[in-house]
Symmetry: C2
Amino acid sequence: MPNTTTATSHDEPLILPMCAVFRRFLKDQGLKFTPERARILDSVLSKPGVFEADALLDEMRRDSRRVSRATIYRTLKHLMEAKIITEVLIDSKQSHYQLSIGREPKGYLVCMETHKIIEVDVPELDAIRERVCRQHGFEPASHRFVIYGVSQDASENSEGTD
Amino acid sequence: MPNTTTATSHDEPLILPMCAVFRRFLKDQGLKFTPERARILDSVLSKPGVFEADALLDEMRRDSRRVSRATIYRTLKHLMEAKIITEVLIDSKQSHYQLSIGREPKGYLVCMETHKIIEVDVPELDAIRERVCRQHGFEPASHRFVIYGVSQDASENSEGTD
DNA sequence: CTTGCTGCAAAAGTTTTGCACACGT
DNA sequence: ACGTGTGCAAAACTTTTGCAGCAAG
């Protein structure tokens, strides 16, 4: 069973500060730092790439870190407000999220066969984004470039299919 | 009531052939060309930009072109198979579609305030896509570049908000 | 006529919400 | 102690599906 993500290595030291960032955010909003929120943040920080709410719940339950589905969704919203994670649009049926440690995610390469998602760095996009926004009088906020294709592994493993 | 799309002008003459394309596709698949399918294709062809299944249904009902929601979804699927429309991922909660008359849609500029979607042409993307796919051993199929931002109109109309 | 199509309503899948109780601050 | 948070289950919302009658080829 192949895993669903690849990518960009995150250094461990970032994990501790992130917790502080979240606590700070919560305090500023008059919200509380609960064990559930701590556990969710923890699980989110352990994700190297793109993840779904449901997968997070499963994983947490497997590790007997008890949380309800409702709390996952509620907390993911706070984490987005706190700019700790970003929503990534890859599938119109389900929300995908990703850590946004300082930098915004840029590009994705999605295999249409295996559904594997590879993050790719495409430096040109920033300049393109600026240009397009200027042309249309927009104030840019973020962007996303997704390439759909078929990976070599997938096309090898299903030669005569379809 | 601002409209939701802008863009690329479609010439009328394309509308007739599209119907033939769809009939051909249906016949090839042993499927039938029904009045409902004709009406849906018709409504789809009248869309200048991105649209949602539900909006299509509403519009059709307003014009008393009776169709059921189920038939809309079933037909949109066929239209995608026939390569007449393409799914566009812009919102993780709802599917968005767009006519794909020969050419693939390339870029979108989405206003986070008004939710207006502007299609933009970004010629560089093809080359970038090729390069990224080559680097990762992928066979490219399609791509999408979405820029999120705030349009001038929106930022003018809500100066002191938030 | 045969086979696929439509509409309805119910089902399915993801996300949200109301409520009663529990817990950070 | 107060005001949020949590879990549960039900609600919402989009999309899919089963079924009985209907229509295209």
